[in-house]
Point group: C2
Chain length 403, copies 2
């Protein structure tokens, strides 16, 4: 008998009509003979509404109590969906995290699921009941409620699928899958039928709206096949699974971009061993995530220029730290936060020669200047002027046969 | 060290500003050196909103899931109040019913609290923490969530006070106490400073808006002193406690009325033993609550008229049952649902001669016809024409020196 985990996001359960529609999807899966466990988010807008209430009391609202507050959102959806299924003559039960229990470790608002009483869920499945579990939360060993970060219902779904040893994990959402690029900006974007975990992670800027990255990581680690699909259409979604099982016909799977990066250049840095470490160690300690790093060969053998990218929000903090550190010697520091990062991603890239050249030629044809480059096995990113973003994405989408 | 249970109703916690105000009241009690346990209702309107959602799914929404749904309301308030206290530098913690646990028995939506892990609460009180508990709910031995009926937060407060062996139980609400009659209709109504449990129960039609009857019953049974007071003023409220501790200066404490009664008369009923039982047994079995019963002495020694009152909603059902039962013989059945019940209540009545006469004379002075009478040790009720209700209440309020 197939064991399925179905997860429905906030928009999918945003109104009573939608909850009833979700119930009809769950009913279908149940009547098809599957053992069904459903993970639900809070109704769309609910979590923000609760956060707003807490902020009216304090900007530093107690994290323990915030978790108690927010966890109520998914509890409401669970009860409503269970009621809607019972109304459709399907045996269903909401099981709150403490009733199972689902155990977490780590701090409030950012915990992670470590274990679950699988027996409790199987007991109900054996009774032919649909089990409904509020996502995004768990309890600690000392029975405190913890949440697991925004979008955490995806993580709950994958963790439950893993611990239950489920056959599949379907992520129902308000889009019908992962696209080759942003369909709202680039109309020729196409839905991807199959994608590997790695590619999905590299395409996180496209996928973030669809599925949470850490959930994909967990799925990859335990080889749990995911499918991202729409609650509102019957069309096939995007299957996310192990690379080995994917037959690549194209070198590039998708084109992603992000506009929250900034480029910082240190000019005239002393060119000797240990300098890079001196620069990046204090940034790392300050939780600043450095993405791309370029160091030119120095012309005079004595000084060089070091360029790197950070999130735009971190620019001021980064410059402050570098100015404070007297052991880092340089002539000048400049930054540019009007840049964008454009990436092509594809597990087939590694076996296709000329992808890099093709990308650079394409951008050059559009008169787009490349400010920095970074590469990995399945991803090639460039930093360009922000104004050229859509032009670059369109061009790359076309030349890699994604239109 | 004084152990206090404070309960705040839905209006008292209806907005963030009000929750902050409640926090300031709790802070004061805590800083005065008391061990404070707070019971909260859902924010005003919240429970109805959740019920509405459930009804959009089904009129017969699963009772188990309804309890899961509704219990979230008090959970939200508990977290917000805990956060508001922490913001005021008071150590505070919400403890949900399953975290304590508070155990219930009985069916969903109508359970009763049977036990509680007192140690868990004392642990936190010993740490000088304010403990905040969601009212109106509990869990069964098999860890299902149960609610305990509308207004159940009062019952939670009294049950927690009893199990904790608290010194006092304060019911904070949006009125500043129990009045000698309805202050919205009779402007001369006065706040009662002290009242016995029995009187409070007999005045339920006045007190229903202030405190739940079953909570008063529990308080009476375990001799827990209650005080009903306003969240919004600093004025003293109404103390409810044991009759023996009250010094009665007045024979009558309050005048209550209700307009949801109807009078039914069976004309020409056979006058022999067992007839009354034949009439009232089937009504009792049908859960119809018969309030007052009057049987006249029969003039011809063979037939008599039997008059009784039931709730207006039950009139049709009552007549139907009496018509079905062939063993009940009578000439005619008539009813009047344009009647009101007016009662004077006072623990001092029993020791004051002439109260009954004074009441009848007062009504007669106003040309108000009495349709039925019933008496108990501390209460005297009459049924009159509905149109005379306010006249009657005003007159009685005056002649018993309550203005």
């Amino acid at each position: 008998m197939t064991k399925k985990v179905l997860k429905f996001g906030g928009t999918s359960v945003g109104t009573i009509e939608r909850i009833q529609h979700v119930a009809s999807i769950v009913k279908k899966e149940h009547l098809a003979g599957n053992n069904v466990v459903v993970i639900v988010s809070a109704m769309a807008g609910k979590t923000n509404e609760l956060i707003k209430l807490s902020k009216e009391i304090s900007d530093k609202f107690s994290k323990r109590e915030l978790d108690v507050l927010l966890s109520s959102g998914e509890q409401v959806t669970s009860a409503l969906l269970a009621g809607a299924l019972i109304k459709l003559n399907i045996k269903a039960k909401s099981l709150l995290n403490w009733q199972i229990p689902i155990l977490t470790e780590g701090e409030h608002s950012n915990a992670r699921i470590t274990n679950m009483n699988v027996e409790k869920i199987n007991e109900h499945l054996n009774e032919k009941e649909v089990v409904i579990i509020p996502g995004f939360q768990g309890i600690t060993k000392s029975a405190d409620i913890t949440t697991i970060g925004r979008g955490g219902s995806d993580a709950t779904a994958v963790a439950v699928a893993k611990l239950l040893n489920a056959d599949t994990c379907d992520i129902y959402t308000d889009v019908d899958g992962v696209y080759s690029t942003d369909p709202n900006k680039i109309p020729v974007a196409k839905k991807i039928d199959k994608i590997s975990y790695d590619e999905m992670l590299e395409l996180s800027s496209l996928g973030a709206k669809v599925i949470q990255s850490s959930a994909v990581q967990t799925a990859m680690m335990y080889d749990i096949p995911l499918e991202v699909k729409s609650t509102f259409t019957e069309r096939k979604g995007t299957k996310i699974f192990n690379q080995e099982n994917i037959d690549y016909t194209k070198s590039v799977t998708g084109v992603a971009y992000s506009k929250d990066d900034a480029k910082i250049t240190l000019i005239g840095v002393e060119d000797r061993p240990g300098v890079a470490a001196n620069i990046f160690e204090p940034l790392s300690k300050a939780q600043i995530n450095v993405d791309m790093v370029i160091q030119n060969i120095s012309s005079d053998q004595k000084t060089t220029d070091v360029t790197f990218t950070v999130k735009r929000d971190d620019v001021d903090k980064t410059k402050e730290i570098l100015k404070e550190k007297s052991e880092i010697k340089y002539k000048d520091i400049i930054h540019n936060d009007k840049v964008a990062k454009v990436s092509i991603v594809g597990a087939g890239m590694v076996s296709t020669p000329g992808v890099t050249y093709k990308m650079f030629r394409g951008l050059s044809d559009e008169k787009i200047n490349i400010l920095a480059i970074s590469t990995s096995e399945i991803k090639l990113s460039v930093i360009i002027d922000e104004n050229n973003t859509l032009n670059a994405v369109k061009k790359l989408h076309t030349i890699f046969d994604l239109d």
